[in-house]
């Protein structure tokens, strides 16, 4: 249709001997995914600063990154709420976002404001009263992809997020007004911006999801003030590049994968950005992509200023179960095997929590956090039941690390699947490309597993009647907080796993849990609402924020 309308204009322009600039610009706008769509504005409230972000790990009044800080600790050094008093917690306020959307947002707290997202809405609330301060609604400008949205990143007054139609969007922290937007992802090819970005120095760091759609994953850096592209790392190497020899693909077969959908971590001292990459595709039909399929299902360490690979560790080579690596944190230091080390906890949909040495890149130990059965059996046309299933293991929320209890707390999904290989492997551009089927067991459940962060010993486990996909947050008060798909916000004793407090939010919880101290009171913000229809049953819920504190504080 577009060509039919454009042709007469183009011919007329040629006959007139000119090429109208406006037509050229329109063509550019529809074909150049880097096109600017708005003018560039300047923020009114330039916080948090680079120094604040660098010190986010010890900041008690803010929650400045999706997973709290660059190391992805999911730990706040606040001790007002403890195992001794958590039973007295009570809700302080709530906020209903009011739109029909999935709700997986990781809230950010900065300067007394709580920032949340749904598919279309970005909202700022008073972090103590839940009263709205501003609200921005994005209207999609083209093809949309997956609607999941996992939150914003903030720096220097910019609030940055991805949109459902592939734009990077920057809002003013003070007013919620749009500063700029850029289309950076090709939603027609199946790219989807669902992950929370990270901001470091003047760079926004983000990549698209969409491995199931056979996109070629990438990690990109974009200038904070304008959205200009600075560098891009292709997770699937081009022919002839290092790693391309790990893909043996028959002629005519489309392959892809290695996309991103979860928060990254950063070691500012080393200048290294860590990303968890996802499965190769076609997901189940490994026969058409023999080899390890680099850099899928890997921990990838990039020079944050250039996007060049510093090192990588592939954890699930030649995957045929959609067992993404999803987590590249927390980063922490400590002694393992008698040696002081720089460590990384990493986990994924294969149901294993692993701890890596960030210098040797060796896996020092691992612990199963879900049922693991039949993991090595090949996927065949008659069906292979395996655990974790295609939506099992550690999903979009990963481990929290508590330096006091010296434990990692990991949420996970137990949901086995029968994988079946198709006779026909058919690629429909931009659409699911599995090369087979995955049928879920009728029963599913979840686990919260506490593991010694320096030995891998399992210290305690909590078994939930539903998959556990909500964020886990731990504190200097020795507590561990999370939400369940049952709707319960739950507080555990971090040392024993004892259930200290429960509150039914009325809808499933698969989003973030942030804690912060303002005016001498420790608050806990919990995101309640359907993570996506996969995870809900009779009660889908609606995007709602709940804030808790101890009464009388």
């Amino acid at each position: 249709m577009m060509h039919r309308l454009q042709l007469p204009l183009t011919c007329a322009a040629l006959l007139a001997g000119v090429w109208p600039a406006t037509i050229t610009a329109q063509v550019t706008a529809t074909t150049n995914t880097q096109s600017r769509t708005t003018t560039v504005g300047v923020p009114s409230k330039p916080v948090p600063t680079a120094a604040q972000l660098a010190a986010a790990g010890t900041d008690t009044s803010n929650w400045l990154y999706a997973t709290h800080d660059y190391s992805g600790s999911r730990y706040a050094a606040i001790g007002q709420i403890t195992a001794a008093n958590a039973a007295r917690l009570a809700p302080v306020c709530s906020f209903q976002v009011g739109d029909v959307s999935t709700f997986q947002t990781n809230p950010i707290v900065v300067d007394g404001m709580l920032l949340i997202t749904t598919t279309q809405v970005t909202a700022a609330l008073d972090a103590r009263t839940c009263r709205p301060k501003w609200r921005h609604t994005w209207k999609a400008k083209g093809a949309t992809s997956w609607p999941q949205q996992r939150g914003v990143a903030v720096k220097d007054g910019y609030v940055v997020r991805g949109t459902v139609d592939g734009h990077l969007l920057a809002l003013d922290l003070g007013t919620g007004k749009e500063l700029w937007s850029r289309r950076i992802a090709d939603t027609k090819s199946g790219e989807a911006l669902t992950m929370p970005p990270m901001i470091y120095e003047d760079m926004i760091l983000i990549g698209p999801a969409g491995s199931e759609n056979a996109v070629g994953g990438w990690i990109g850096a974009f200038r904070l003030a304008t959205g200009d592209s600075l560098w891009r790392f292709r997770v699937i190497p081009a022919k002839g590049e290092p790693g391309s020899e790990t893909w043996k693909v028959p002629p005519g077969i489309v392959v892809g994968g290695g996309a991103l959908w979860t928060p990254m971590t950063l070691d500012p001292k080393a200048g290294l950005l860590f990303a968890a990459t996802t499965n190769p595709s076609p997901d189940l039909a490994g026969g058409v992509r023999e080899g390890d399929n680099l850099y899928t299902n890997s921990v990838v360490a990039l020079d944050v200023r250039t996007g060049k690979v510093a090192w990588y560790r592939q954890l699930v080579p030649h995957d045929t179960h959609d067992w993404d690596v999803t987590q590249v944190g927390p980063l922490y230091d400590g002694t393992v095997g008698g040696k002081a080390r720089r460590l990384m906890a990493t986990a994924g949909k294969d149901g294993l929590l692993r701890v890596l040495d960030r210098d040797s890149h060796d896996v020092l130990f691992s612990a199963a956090v879900t049922t693991r059965e039949n993991v090595d059996a090949p996927i065949v046309a008659t069906g292979t039941r395996a655990c974790p299933g295609i939506l099992g293991g550690v999903e979009w929320n990963g481990s929290a690390f508590n330096p006091g209890t010296r434990m990692l707390y990991t949420p996970a999904v137990d949901w086995c699947t029968t994988f079946t290989l198709d006779d026909e492997i058919r690629h429909v551009p931009g659409k699911n490309y599995l090369g087979g089927d995955a049928k879920f067991d009728a029963k599913s459940s979840g686990w919260l597993t506490a593991v010694d962060a320096f030995t891998g010993a399992v210290k305690w486990k909590y078994h939930s009647p539903r998959p556990m996909v909500g964020a886990v947050t731990t504190t200097a008060g020795g507590i561990v907080m999370t939400g369940e798909l049952t709707g319960d916000f739950v507080v555990f004793d971090g040392r024993t796993g004892k259930d200290l407090y429960r509150f039914n939010t009325g809808g499933p919880i698969g989003g973030g849990v942030a804690t912060y101290s303002l005016g001498g009171t420790q608050y806990i913000a919990v995101m309640s609402g359907s993570p996506s229809p996969f995870w809900t049953n009779e009660n889908p819920g609606a995007p709602t924020v709940f804030v808790f504190a101890l009464p009388g504080r």
């Binding site: 249709m1 039919r4 042709l7 007469p8 011919c11 007329a12 006959l15 029909v100 959307s101 999935t102 999609a140 083209g142 093809a143 949309t144 992809s145 997956w146 609607p147 027609k188 198709d422 058919r426 429909v428 551009p429 931009g430 659409k431 699911n432 599995l434 089927d437 995955a438 049928k439 879920f440 359907s530 996506s532 229809p533 996969f534 889908p540």
Partner: protein, 155 residues
């Protein structure tokens, strides 16, 4: 008229003719009627039971991708995609937790319902899961009804 002027006049006339020739296009052929109302109604029953939770009661895509309107055509109205591709994706990947568990007839009924909701005209023949038929159909926004055949009085 000098020779140069005559050449110029011919050039201009040719250009104008060319311009009109290129700018003129035949009326859109009517979008073929691919399914029946009864089939779409059967599809609606399946859709409400299997699809509406994610894709929305009005196919607006509340918690998943939209199946109607601009977003649907943005996604599917492409030269390399046919109705057979759409049918393939529906039957291979849906319903999300139990893909492939409907019969082929049930899947094609759902496709008929989605076509109906996107303005494709109803007809007297049911849509069948026949690749030869489905591959020949592109998912383009249906052409508006040709009003030139209507009596003048109704205009």
């Amino acid at each position: 008229m000098s020779r140069t002027e005559r050449h110029a006049a011919i050039t201009v006339a040719t250009s104008v003719m060319l311009l009109f020739a290129v700018a003129w296009r035949a009326p859109e052929p009517p979008t073929p009627a691919l399914y029946t109302r009864a089939q779409a109604e059967r599809g609606r029953v399946q859709y409400d039971a299997q699809c509406a939770d994610c894709h929305g009661a009005k196919l607006e895509g509340g918690n998943s991708t939209p199946l109607a309107g601009d977003a649907f055509f943005e996604s599917w109205s492409r030269a390399e995609l046919s109705l057979d591709d759409f049918y393939y994706i529906v039957r291979k990947t849906m319903p999300k937790e139990t893909p492939g568990t409907l019969t082929r007839e049930q899947y094609i009924d759902v496709v008929a319902f989605i076509l109906q909701q996107n303005g494709f005209p109803e007809g007297d023949t049911e849509l069948r899961p026949d690749p030869a038929i489905l591959k020949a159909v592109r998912i383009e926004r249906p052409a508006p009804r040709d009003t030139s055949v209507l009596p003048t009085a109704t205009r």
